[in-house]
Amino acid sequence: MLPAAALMGFSIWNLKHIQRSGQVEAAIQRDFSHVLKIAENKSWHKAYDMVMPIRSQFPNADQGRAEIEARLDRILTQHPEFSYALFYDKKSNLFVSRTQPGRDSDPNFCGRSQEAIKMAASWIPLEAPHTAAKVRLAMQKEDEPVLFDGGWMLTDNQHIYWNLGYFIPPGVPKDRVELGFVSLDEDYLRNSFFPTLMADVLNSKDNVLRQEANPPAMMIRPAKDSAPWVASANWDGGKPEAERNFQWVFQDLALAIKYHGTTVADISSRFLRYNSIVLAALSLLMIGGIWLTYRNVSREMTLARLKSDFVANVSHELRTPLALIRLYAETLELGRLTAQEKYHEYFRIIREESERLTALINNILDFSRIEAGRKEYEFKETNLAELVRTTLDSYRFQIEQNGFSFEEHISGDIPPVNVDREAIARSLLNLVNNALKYSKDQKYIGVSLYRANGSVKLEVQDRGIGIAAAEQDKIFEKFYRCGDPLVHNTKGSGLGLSLVRHIAQAHGGNVSVESVPDKGSKFTIALPIDPSVRAGAALA
């Protein structure tokens, strides 16, 4: 009991604790941040891998302007995903710019490319030494000869995203400041580069966020604006759960991620709810277990008490007839009787007490066989009317001698029934004996045998002390005896009715009682006529 309560208390505390610190949410946030980091890494790798081959083809200042322009045009033609390429040489103050030749006829493209090139032309000559130094440093430290820069610019009331991958072209001596630049096309970024990237990240097998019902969705937005610039197919708006600003590539853009159709708060509250339900179910189970254990223990204790009462009762029940037989036999032996009828009375009493003892011992033996599961019945087709009549005949004298009026109704249409003769006779005797024992002033016993609803019913009725409604269920339990055990004034072992019930059930029937205290009781044994009912009962 105590450990169970402790466990329950701990679980509740744990649940509260989770709720308070938002551990679930934090864990999901961590996973989101992790995925975003992977996304940025991938985009850097992807961009880097695109720029690297271009760097190896790039011209340097030794080749003269015309050759440089031709080379840049060739590069752009081969790589349509770039919008323009720039070359700058500090020494000769040579600035060469070429736009994607394939898109000369796209005015929008040309306009924004020219704007971007104009802006680049304004800062590159000033920043070139510093920029070249940065590239050289990166080459030394990381062996990564390409760096990126990017940002937003406003032209004609339009925000345009510009980006540059820059490097020192091959074959440039260390004391020269020469730089190459290429820019990924904005249309390419929005329509191909980022959508592919996001799909890759979201569908990756390592994606910790994968789940069927609410797959994660991503979008890329300007760092200073919350509206999506590019979004994955399943982006459904709403507040992102985690965000990350690009640092190494595509500066001034931010990645954002969330679950499609739900929020982390929802998930965590669902998790909590689920846990609460599990906890409640477990607690219920535990309480049920405790209750069952308690019930079993108290049942066992009641049974133990009943057993010890039983032993006391039975010893008394065995000793009384024995003492009587001995008393009467000794009196006879001592020749203390004078009248002839006294002899008869004495013999009769000795016989009756022997019978009582036999009946009691038979009950106990039957009972112990039943308890050990060794009780076997011999079912034979039997004339029940004849069986009941003979059984009662041998008992009639005793019943009437005790001052009882006795009625016997046996209807004429009783079919032969498959029963164990001895068991049925014993049940009848047990019921009649009970009627004898539990009658006070109204001394009446009625026995009827009749056919009803596919069964034969054997009824024993008295006008005795009756049984309280609360006790009517229990009287068929073994060892159970009515009333206060301290004031038993009738004899009994507490076995009779439990045997009657067992016998009736073994025959596929049952025994029931109707009783009103101080008015009398009626016990009815119902035995099925159809033997298959019994077979069913035996199987069950």
Binding site: T320, L324, L327, Y328, T331, I349, N489
Partner: protein, 83 residues
Amino acid sequence: MSVTKILIVEDEPNMVAGLRDNFEYEGFQVTTALDGVDGLERALKDSPLFDKDETQLAGDNNLDPNGTFTFGVKIKLKRPLNL
């Protein structure tokens, strides 16, 4: 010589009958009672030891709802007990 009285309190009628036969054979005058209350009444009424007129129920006599009757008896002996 006066007849010695004996009171048999026993709830088994056959036992009472058998004992009565034997005690009567031995020369006792036998009275019988089938339960304790009856037995106590007869003992108080017939006992040679108690002064019937001075014997009374005393103290808190009470019948509780379970049917248990608790009572005290104040008796006066006809002669001191020789214990």
